[in-house]
């Protein structure tokens, strides 16, 4: 059975806390057996009365009262033990879930950065949180409750058969019918349902997101009826699915409840026939009473088993999600790391694709970047510019070919060592909620105060420091102290300047901050790029006129390569882009163009 697989996997995650889990399971089982004994007390009372029915005065009142108190005591004891079981299960839950979370935190820290680029942080976080919460409930409550629910019918069966096997058999019929229905309900059909349900719940959640994201558009264009279409369809599908499932279960579920509550229907004729035909009327009366008292508990516990089993099935999805993260392969690390001799970068027949089904993002690309020079990558979006930068930084590893730095394949280098020698600028800014100073010094924890301030100064951050209440010691990102996009970029630049890595990967991308910020960012870049080996993803062709090398990419291939002058001479793709660029920067909205306003080089 699949459920066992879930528990088995879960137990592995528990480590040594399997012991506390086991204790909890045993205690919970003991608790429910003791609980059953409380019902036996009720029976004992009935038995005493029956035995002395002919002569009521033979009844010992003190004895009866004792039995009453014994029942109270057993109930409380059963609860006390159950409480202990809960305590142990919560200890297990805490340790397992905390361990799992920490394990995940450490694990994802070692995954290739490509994993994080393709899995948004918010989504990752939600997966981790939701599923570990589910597992916590499973361990803390559902497993002990399930154990108790299973132990009780077993104990009950033992009791019954010891007591009177004939009536036991009769009572067993509806119980078996009940189990049969339960099995049928929980079998693949409902697992298929769980999957379908998950899917339509996901659909609806996507539809909601799309709907809300589009609300402005919807309002603006007065699209009342149409806007709902997708959302409506998703809600309807989800609702219809729920309804269909609910209706398909209506007869089965009703039968189940009739079966587990219907033991009397078998007990009554059984008892009557045995009494009418049997030879030992006293025994028949007593067993009839015994079963009358105890059958309700069966119904209760069978209903509980049903709940816990369906919950168990849902937890499987949670465990799967967590195991999926833990199974992601960390970035392969070489056993014998080599150190690069110098920082010439060579891209050697590199091919790469994002996943099996995606087309080739890079197709047999080669170029060299001599140390201390600037290479610009240009081309339309989707041409492969960012992919090259990402491969150099080992977000992913190449499929074919190799990227070498100073003659050494990046995969043969110590990852951390290499990361210290590359700066990535403008990917996104990634600031911590700590002081400006600590943010700048994150790569250089030993940097002196002077060095940090020097870097901030070179990155044109003086005006930011002046604005902040505690200067460089101001904690950013909280208490209403937020920086604009351009300001955050400058702090990130200060960080890179302090890091002073010999290789810089620069994405000019989002650059169009306001005039003031843009101006300062460029000044900061001048500082950062000085003397470095630079690979730059360029968008504004005017900035790269003096680059040592320009590679024009189109659909994963290099179509042209050379200096600005050489490429212009070719009258090819680059020259055409350049022409478009010139016309775009001299465009004016709403009027005649200004003669002579063309900015040219």
């Amino acid at each position: 059975m699949k459920e066992k697989g879930v528990l088995g996997r879960l137990f592995r995650h528990m480590g040594m806390f399997r012991i506390t889990m086991a204790i909890s399971i045993v205690l919970s089982a003991v608790s429910s057996v003791i609980n059953l004994y409380a019902f036996v007390c009720v029976y004992d009372v009935a038995k005493e009365i029956v035995r002395s029915l002919g002569n009521m005065h033979a009844l010992d009142q003190a004895d009866m009262v004792d039995m009453g108190w014994r029942a109270v005591f057993l109930i409380l004891m059963s609860f006390g033990i159950y409480g202990l079981a809960l305590l142990f299960s919560h200890i297990t839950a805490f340790n397992t879930v905390a361990k799992l979370r920490i394990q995940i935190v450490r694990h994802i820290g070692n995954l290739p950065l490509g994993y994080h680029a393709t899995n948004p942080s918010g989504k990752q976080r939600k997966i981790i949180e939701k599923n570990s919460d589910n597992l916590e409930t499973l361990i803390a409550h559902q497993i002990p409750d399930f154990a108790g629910a299973v132990a009780l019918p077993i104990a009950f069966l033992v009791f019954m058969f010891v007591y009177d096997w004939r009536l036991s058999f009769i009572c067993l019929i509806p119980i078996l019918v009940g189990f049969g229905i339960l099995y049928y309900m929980l079998k693949d059909e409902s697992e298929g349902f769980a999957k379908q349900y998950q899917k339509s719940a996901e659909d609806i959640s996507n539809a909601v997101t799309e709907y809300i994201r589009g609300i402005a558009v919807v309002k603006v264009f007065g699209q009342t009826a149409n806007s709902f279409r997708h959302y409506k369809a998703a809600v309807k599908e989800y609702g219809d699915y729920l309804l269909k499932y609910a209706l398909s279960m209506q007869n089965t579920d009703s039968l189940y409840h009739a079966a587990i509550n219907g033991i009397f229907f078998f007990l009554i004729p059984g008892g009557i026939i045995l009494f009418n035909t049997g030879s030992n009327p006293e025994k028949t009366i007593l067993s009839f009473l015994f079963f009358s008292v105890l059958i309700p508990t069966v119904a209760t516990f069978l209903a509980r088993i049903m709940n816990s089993s369906s919950n168990l099935m849902l937890s499987k999805a949670s465990l799967d999600a967590i195991d999926r993260i833990l199974k992601e392969k960390p970035l392969p690390e070489t056993k014998k790391p080599q150190s690069p001799m110098g920082y010439d970068i060579s891209i050697d027949h590199v091919s790469f694709s994002y996943g099996e089904t995606a087309g080739k993002a890079l197709d047999d690309i080669s170029f060299d970047v001599p140390e201390g020079t600037i290479t610009a990558l240009v081309g339309k979006s989707g041409g492969g510019k960012s992919t090259i930068a990402n491969l150099i930084a080992r977000f992913w590893d190449v499929d074919e070919g190799a990227i070498r730095v100073g003659g050494v394949d990046v995969r043969e280098m110590d990852y951390k060592h290499w990361m210290k020698r590359v700066s990535m600028v403008f990917q996104d800014t990634n600031l911590f909620k700590t002081s400006v100073k600590e943010n700048v010094a994150v790569f250089n924890p030993d940097a002196s105060r002077e060095d940090i301030f020097q870097a901030l100064h070179l990155a044109q951050c003086d005006d930011i420091l002046e604005k902040l209440p505690q200067g460089a010691d101001t904690v950013i990102g909280t208490n209403g102290i937020y920086l604009s996009g351009g300001e955050m970029q400058r702090i990130a630049l200060a960080r890179a300047i302090l890091k002073n890595a010999p290789v810089v990967l620069l994405d000019e991308a989002t650059a169009f901050a306001d005039a003031e910020n843009e101006y300062r960012i460029q000044k900061a870049l001048d500082e950062l790029l000085r003397g470095k080996t630079v690979i730059m993803i360029a968008h504004r062709l005017s900035t790269i006129i003096h680059a040592d090398q320009i590679c024009v990419l189109e659909r994963g291939k290099i179509v042209e390569k050379g200096t600005h002058r050489e490429l212009m001479g070719m009258h090819g793709a680059y020259a055409k882009m350049r022409e478009e660029y010139q016309s775009s920067i001299s465009w004016r909205i709403g009027g005649q163009q200004y003669a002579g306003a063309r900015i040219s080089h």
């Binding site: 009720v42 109270v72 809960l86 979370r101 920490i102 264009f221 229907f265 989002t510 350049r578 909205i589």
Partner: protein, 577 residues
């Protein structure tokens, strides 16, 4: 009552109530066999002690048992049917109702709450309500009613015995109430603690790129682990205590089982009750607590859904913008008259006055955060101004119904929202009843036809969630096509700051040039060189109008505009060395 708390329909509320009544019937039907069992036992005893003779009539009892079994089956089936049908229908109705309400809210409401928060309100809160309706309400009503009914009948029969069954119930109520009072405050703190873990995890995930290339990784992970452990410990402890308290409440209830033995046997010996009565009470005693326990549990489910229900109510009761829906404009001058606006208690605009004339292009410029975008949004009544007024064609737009007002506006904003639908339908958003002809023309005017023709199914290509498969430039052009299709007299334009490849850029420019001809245009400009020919440039800084005029006038003034323009010219000449 349900309809008011959960905002479900009257019919739904009534159906849930009915489901509860069927649940009560079911509970009673499962209790009645006890009477039958006691009667059979009594028959046996009478024969055993020679009071009665002959065989016990099998068919009479079995027949009755069969009827009871049928009653159990059908009562359950009815309650099942009613509660699931109703809860699902109400779930759908609520989801539609919320979506409809969101559409009618001022856009400021949506802007204030982040997208995922709003989406999760719809999803999680409705799911919580659905759960409360499907597994909470009916069980509670049924359990409570059947418990009270049974106790009342038993009390009528013998109040002492019934009393000993029920004596612990008040205690249960007290324990439950105490739990509730304690959990009230703790829940708030626990939510905060969970948020602390979330924030920690989020920062870690966001900064993982930086951490990986620094020496901080391990230290950071260790600190995060300690935080996770510390907070989780508190949460799990609390959870344990509340689970324990609920268990305690249920078991206090069961003490009645022992008490009835004590009371019953005393009464029996004193001859106050007959054996049959005692036996009946004993058999009832082992049954009666189950529905009551369920009622308690269901009450818990319902109580915990109240927070969700409250959030839904807040949303549904949020005031909508009002105004005249039949307004017909005479002209399209937009006049900002001493407009001030505060957002989240922070002043964004102070005393801004200017006119964007019909048929002219008015550009808004200034450093980021100066209030340009806010002005644009105020012009379309996304928000209502705090002081002053915005008027269109001479009428204060606060007096015009938002939907009516928006008919006269078209927007080309930076964050282009596309739907997971065909290109054709994405353009058609611009005009609900547009013909195919019109859609194609709009696409052509917006320079979209060239890239659409390259797509595998042309206009019928589905573009994926939020148009993931398209480049930034292509998305921009699609949004321009929508604006063409709408052909509104007022155009609000937010020039793109993202870098777009030159080819795309020129196409966008061409399209915009066509779009703005002869309209009232308000443009948020980032690239100053592109607005030098505008009819009017309004320069903003920190929410104030610093200067305004044509490019030439402003350049002569030597103010902020002059400075920004020079900076940008210098930036444009920048190159890597």
């Amino acid at each position: 009552m349900l309809e008011r708390v959960y905002r479900i329909s009257d019919e739904g509320s009534w159906n849930i109530l009915k489901s509860g009544l069927y649940m009560c019937l079911f509970n009673l039907a499962t209790l009645l066999p006890v009477l039958l069992l006691a009667m059979v036992a009594d028959e046996m005893m009478n024969r055993y002690f020679g009071i009665a003779h002959g065989s016990i009539p099998l068919w009479g009892y079995w027949g009755t048992a069969f009827l009871l079994l049928c009653a159990i089956y059908f009562a359950y089936r009815m309650t099942y049917r009613k509660k699931y049908l109703t809860s699902t229908q109400e779930d759908m109705r609520l989801r539609m109702g919320i979506a409809d309400k969101i559409r009618r809210l001022p856009l400021s409401y949506i802007g204030r709450r982040d997208l995922s928060d709003l989406a999760s309100t719809v999803m999680d809160d409705v799911a919580a309500v659905e759960l409360a309706l499907s597994t909470g309400a009916a069980e509670f009503i049924g359990g409570f009613l059947s418990g009270v009914t049974t106790l009342a009948i038993l009390a009528f029969y013998n109040w002492k015995l019934a009393g000993s069954l029920a004596v612990c119930l008040p205690l249960v109520v007290i324990v439950m109430f105490l739990c509730r009072i304690i959990s009230e405050g703790t829940n708030q703190r626990n939510r905060q603690k969970k948020l602390d873990i979330s924030d920690g995890l989020q920062e870690y995930l966001e900064t993982i790129k930086v951490l990986r290339s620094s020496e901080e990784m391990e230290g950071y992970q260790n600190r995060l682990s300690v935080t996770i452990k510390r907070i989780l410990k508190g949460l799990v402890l609390y959870e344990f205590l509340s689970g324990f308290a609920i268990g305690l409440a249920h078991n206090i209830m069961r003490i009645g089982l022992g008490l009835i033995i004590v009371t019953g046997s005393t009464l029996l010996i004193s001859g106050e009750i007959h054996f049959f009565a005692f036996l009946l009470f004993l058999l009832v005693a082992v049954r009666i607590y189950e529905p009551l326990t369920k009622a308690c549990e269901s009450l818990g489910v319902m109580i915990s859904s109240l927070v969700s229900a409250g959030r839904i109510r807040d949303l549904m009761d949020y005031p909508e913008q009002q105004g005249d829906a039949s307004w017909q404009p005479k002209s399209f001058d937009i006049f900002f008259d001493h407009v001030s606006f505060a957002y989240n208690k922070k002043d964004v605009l102070h005393d801004v006055s200017f006119t964007a004339k019909q048929g002219q292009i008015t550009a808004l410029v200034g450093p980021s955060g100066c209030g340009k975008s806010t002005l644009c949004r105020l012009a379309a009544r996304f928000w209502d101004v705090s002081r002053g007024s915005v008027s269109l064609g001479g009428l204060n737009i606060n007096e015009i119904a938002p939907d009516t007002l928006l008919k006269h506006y078209a927007f080309v904003f930076q964050d282009v929202v596309l739907f997971n639908d065909t290109i054709y339908n994405n353009i058609k958003i611009g005009k609900e009843n547009a013909t195919r002809e019109e859609v194609l023309t709009a696409a052509k005017l917006a320079c979209c036809d060239e890239f659409i023709d390259r797509l595998p199914q042309g206009y019928d290509t589905v573009i994926g969630e939020n148009g993931m498969t398209l480049s930034g430039g292509e998305r921009q052009r699609l949004s321009i096509a929508r604006a063409f299709l709408k052909d509104a007299p007022v155009i609000l334009l937010d020039e793109s700051t993202a870098s777009i490849d030159p080819e795309n850029e020129t196409k966008i420019q061409k399209a915009i040039g066509r779009l703005v001809a002869n309209k009232t245009v308000l443009i948020i400009a980032h690239k100053l060189r592109s607005i030098v020919a505008c009819d009017k440039i309004v320069v903003l800084n920190e929410g104030n109008v610093m200067e305004s005029g044509t490019h030439e006038e402003l350049m002569q003034e030597d103010g902020l505009y002059h400075r920004l323009y020079s900076l940008q010219s210098e930036s444009l000449a920048w190159e890597v060395k």
